[in-house]
């Protein structure tokens, strides 16, 4: 159907344009040249940075997918941040401990990370179905608790490295080389970035092709109708939350196991925090749909990486201005989807009316 295609493309384009205009305004406001700014931001990145964009995008994608699983059934898992932090810590401790040889160690760590993320996500789920606690509140609190918990464990059981603590670094045999698309010095696409592709496909497949996915979407679209159709909403809440947490558990693993990434251990400085929130934004941006999330992840990763070039190009804008751009994109895209959605609904209704008229329906109520 034509309108579907149009609405799929139109809204993001409108949002991007608005974001460009508003960001330019901010750049002008702080006294820099928007032309220079966009020249840097939109230049083609170096080979190394192309790989960085891909690696960052894969982590953002995993985070966005984790958030989207919850969003699909109106569950606001704001706790992706805490879930992947806990899971990353657990995986790093286990992988660093080298209890298993090589590949087995990696597989076991991945499973463990998913279990840890799922377990951390199960807490708000259980609180919600048994006590009616809003998952928004409990996940935000659990994010703070996750920071505390991992920090506590690290400072009490971590390995000392100068004045900081970290988990035991991974042995060489449990690190993955990645895919070197360019010269060696440019780094590599991390092997476990492929998790994003796998998870993306599974997410699409489960949501759109399975009974479970149907139940999940139905619950998100109309909870009371889902109940009437026989869905056990409580069970769905717990399952969806744990799935979301399990995917969240994967977020940082590409980095942890990558030979070419610095920091093959968990510490307060090498662990990349904040991806959980980026994921929420990207899930909104991509309308909880894998292709949209993938595009959104690439966009956000691209903007983030490009912003590091600003200081070298002599553009006198803090690279934090990218946060403004990203925020504006999310805001405008929600508005744009809403607007386009209304156009579409109206177009749909016109189509139906046309179909009715074509049938020459004369069944108006006679007085």
């Amino acid at each position: 159907m034509m309108p579907k295609l149009v609405s799929g493309v139109l809204a993001p384009v409108m949002a991007l344009l608005a974001a460009i205009v508003i960001t330019s305004g901010v750049v002008v406001f702080v006294g820099a040249s928007p032309v220079d700014f966009w020249e840097v931001m939109l230049s083609w990145p170096s080979n190394r940075n192309v790989l960085t964009v891909l690696n960052q995008a894969s982590m953002i994608f995993l985070s966005g997918t984790a958030a989207a699983i919850g969003f699909r059934m109106n569950l606001f898992n704001i706790g992706v941040e805490g879930q992947y932090r806990v899971a990353s810590y657990v995986a790093a401790v286990f992988a660093g401990g080298a209890f298993l040889p090589g590949a087995l160690n990696i597989v076991a760590s991945i499973v463990l990370a998913m279990l840890a993320g799922a377990a951390w996500a199960a807490i708000p789920a259980v609180l919600k179905v048994t006590r009616g606690v809003s998952e928004v509140i409990s996940t935000i609190m659990l994010n703070a608790i996750a920071v505390f918990l991992t920090g506590y464990l690290l400072s009490n059981y971590g390995e000392k490295a100068a004045d900081t603590r970290r988990t035991t670094p991974l042995e060489d045999s449990t690190m993955l080389g990645g895919f070197k698309l360019f010269e060696d010095k440019d780094g590599a696409v991390w092997t476990l970035s492929l998790l994003a592709v796998v998870v993306g496909f599974l997410f699409w497949f489960i949501i759109n092709r399975t009974r479970f996915g149907f139940d999940l979407r139905a619950t998100g679209m109309n909870e009371s109708a889902a109940v009437a159709s026989g869905v056990s909403v409580k069970r769905m809440v717990v399952t969806a939350m744990m799935l979301s947490g399990a995917v969240a558990g994967l977020i940082w693993l590409p980095n942890l196991f990558a030979e070419t990434a610095s920091g093959n251990y968990f510490s307060s400085s090498v662990f990349q925090s904040g991806l959980g929130f980026t994921g929420i934004a990207v899930a909104l941006l991509g309308r909880n749909n894998p292709v949209g999330i993938a595009l959104g992840s690439l966009l956000f990763a691209f903007l983030g990486v490009q912003s590091t070039q600003l200081e070298f190009a002599g553009v006198d804008v803090s690279n934090d201005v990218v946060l403004v751009t990203q925020g504006v994109i999310v805001l405008t895209i929600v508005i744009a989807y809403e607007v386009v959605g209304r156009w579409r609904a109206a177009a749909d209704q016109r189509a139906v009316r046309a179909a009715l008229d074509a049938n020459a329906n004369k069944q108006e109520v006679a007085a």
């Binding site: 159907m1 759109n208 092709r209 399975t210 009974r211 479970f212 996915g213 149907f214 139940d215 979407r217 139905a218 679209m221 109309n222 009371s224 109708a225 889902a226 109940v227 009437a228 159709s229 026989g230 869905v231 056990s232 609904a345 749909d348 209704q349 189509a351 139906v352 009316r353 046309a354 179909a355 009715l356 049938n359 329906n361 069944q363 108006e364 109520v365 006679a366 007085a367």
Partner: protein, 527 residues
């Protein structure tokens, strides 16, 4: 049409007259040829079942929606509203059923909110509030926080808000629905004060006792139009009930009975309590046989919805439920559906559809564990779509495609899709709650035909309806529900509207053990 605006009557200043109002929504006519004349300085009751078109009319009067045809005349002047602001300008105010008050503000603040220009927000406004409150016995302190007020007081704040804005004509939407009896008495006292001072009140309700107690005139609506007027001094509850649900009973079905001896659904001692431990359903015993349609009659809100949801296991009641001889008490909603219970819910938007999903996905809803929609754990898109096309064809669902979102369809077509869906997969029992509410006549006839055909094929049907035409036309047996109990059983071929009406309103003493003293015997007053 175009009746000339009625000359003003006794107190013509605040009279309202609507003539020939018609309002269409895609596929449905919500109001047609509505004529009401409200005399100034009176309490005028507008009664009718849910879905009779009262709320649409109300919205038209308050400027929320524009009528497609017809005229509104206020105090002899023809008016046309494009927003509630216009309605307020000519002195029409409305009190909604759900209060719109800010709990953490005071009475004064709530009242002046949005009307700061009238009397300011200071002493003048306070004085005005006190004046109104004293004049009509509202007993409100402008500085009380609304969160400390009871329901009755909050309602008075709402009325005060309307009066503060200068309304002379006040529309009250089911004002007593939220009140306990003493509060109802207090409200009525306030209304009489208002009437005495020349205000006109349009009182919307379906509670007949109250209407008879307060109204000067009564207008009855059914199926989108005004069907009659009554004088509360002489009318009885029975007559009103008849008017509301349709008094001209259809000739009994000539179709042969298809009722068999096989009991399909059997409820015994089924009860359901609400959070506060009150009985929503009490000791329900009923049976439905294969090939039988059991109709449940009753005034809305007497436990019909709860009965349906208990049978569907959407609520957890006590007692035994047997389906085809098997105890299904432990079965959850999905398992019960899988055993062959089809469900046409009362509110199709809330319980029956995914409005933002395509039709074929709506066909899967409720059947997502059964062929042809699935293969193993996967959704079988191809077969589900094929079967959706079958339903669209067989049930005459008018849609450009099965990929159209359900929201875009008219109510009647949505309902036909639901009925088609629930009839698929060879159900043994169909629970149909108000299956033709809010659908056009064509769709209604089609749905009736489908139910009749299924019954011939041995389907057992539990039919809940507020429409006596439908109940009598389709049912093999009618049970009347009142305050969560089944209070009488009737044969649709012999039942009179008086019998039904009096059972529904509690006028019949048979089997009703409580409150017999306060209720007058309806049969004596009838005819």
């Amino acid at each position: 049409m175009a009746t000339a605006p009625q000359g003003s009557t006794a107190d013509g200043g605040n009279s309202v007259s609507v003539q020939g109002i018609t309002k269409r929504f895609p596929g449905v006519v919500a109001n047609h040829d509505v004529d009401i004349t409200i005399r100034g300085g009176t309490v005028h009751a507008l009664i009718g079942e849910n879905g009779a078109g009262k709320s649409t009319l109300m919205k038209i009067l308050y400027g929320v929606q524009k009528p497609d045809e017809g005229t509104i005349t206020v105090a002899g002047q023809q008016v046309s509203f494009s927003s509630p602001t216009d309605a307020i300008k000519v002195g029409i105010g409305m009190v909604f059923q759900h209060f719109m008050l800010a709990d953490n503000l005071t009475v004064l603040e709530n009242v002046v909110l949005g009307a700061e220009k009238l009397h300011g927000i200071g002493d003048k406004a306070r004085a005005e509030i006190v004046r109104i409150s004293d004049a009509y016995g509202f007993d409100l302190d402008p500085d009380d926080l609304v969160e400390r007020l009871g329901v009755g007081q909050r309602q008075r704040v709402e009325i005060l808000k309307v009066l503060f804005r200068g309304a002379k004509i006040i529309i009250l939407d089911e004002p007593t629905a939220v009140l306990v009896p003493q509060e109802v008495d207090a409200l009525f006292a306030n209304l009489r004060e208002l009437r005495a001072s020349g205000h006109t009140i349009l009182f919307i309700s379906h509670k007949l006792d109250e209407v008879l107690a307060i109204a000067d005139d009564i207008t009855v609506m059914r199926r989108g139009t005004t069907v009659g007027e009554a004088d509360p001094k002489t009318a009885t509850k029975l007559e009103l009930a008849e008017l509301m649900v349709g008094s001209e009973l259809p000739s009994p079905e000539t179709e042969e009975s298809t009722v068999t001896d096989v009991v399909l659904l059997e409820l015994s001692d089924v009860s359901l309590l609400d959070d506060r431990g009150r009985h929503l359903l009490r000791d329900i015993d009923l049976t439905i046989h294969k090939g039988e349609v059991l109709g449940i009659a009753g005034v809305e809100g007497n436990g019909q919805a709860e009965l349906v949801e208990t049978i569907m296991a959407m609520r957890k009641g006590t007692g035994t439920v047997r389906l085809a001889g098997n105890d299904i008490a432990k079965a959850n909603t999905r398992e019960r559906r899988e055993l062959g219970i089809g469900f046409v819910p009362e509110d199709r938007h809330r319980h029956g559809l995914l409005l933002d999903a395509p039709l074929w996905e709506n066909r899967v809803l409720g059947h997502q564990t059964r062929e042809p929609n699935i293969t193993g754990p996967l959704i079988n898109r191809r077969d589900a779509r094929k079967d959706t096309q079958r339903i669209i064809d067989a049930y005459d669902v008018r849609t450009p495609s099965m990929d159209t979102h359900a929201r875009a369809l008219s109510g009647g077509n949505q309902q036909k899709l639901i009925v088609g869906r629930e009839m698929s997969g060879d159900p043994v029992l169909l629970i149909a709650a108000h299956p033709t509410r809010g659908v056009d006549v064509g769709a209604q006839a089609a749905i009736w035909d489908h139910i009749k055909r299924a019954r011939r094929e041995g389907l057992a049907v539990l039919l809940i309806s507020a429409d006596l035409d439908e109940l009598i036309g389709l049912s093999d047996r009618i049970e009347v529900i009142l305050r969560g109990r089944l209070v009488g059983e009737f044969d649709p071929r012999t039942v009179t509207p008086q019998d039904l009406g009096s059972a529904m309103t509690g006028g019949q003493d048979a089997e009703t053990k409580d409150e017999t003293t306060s209720t007058s015997n309806g049969e004596g007053a009838a005819s």
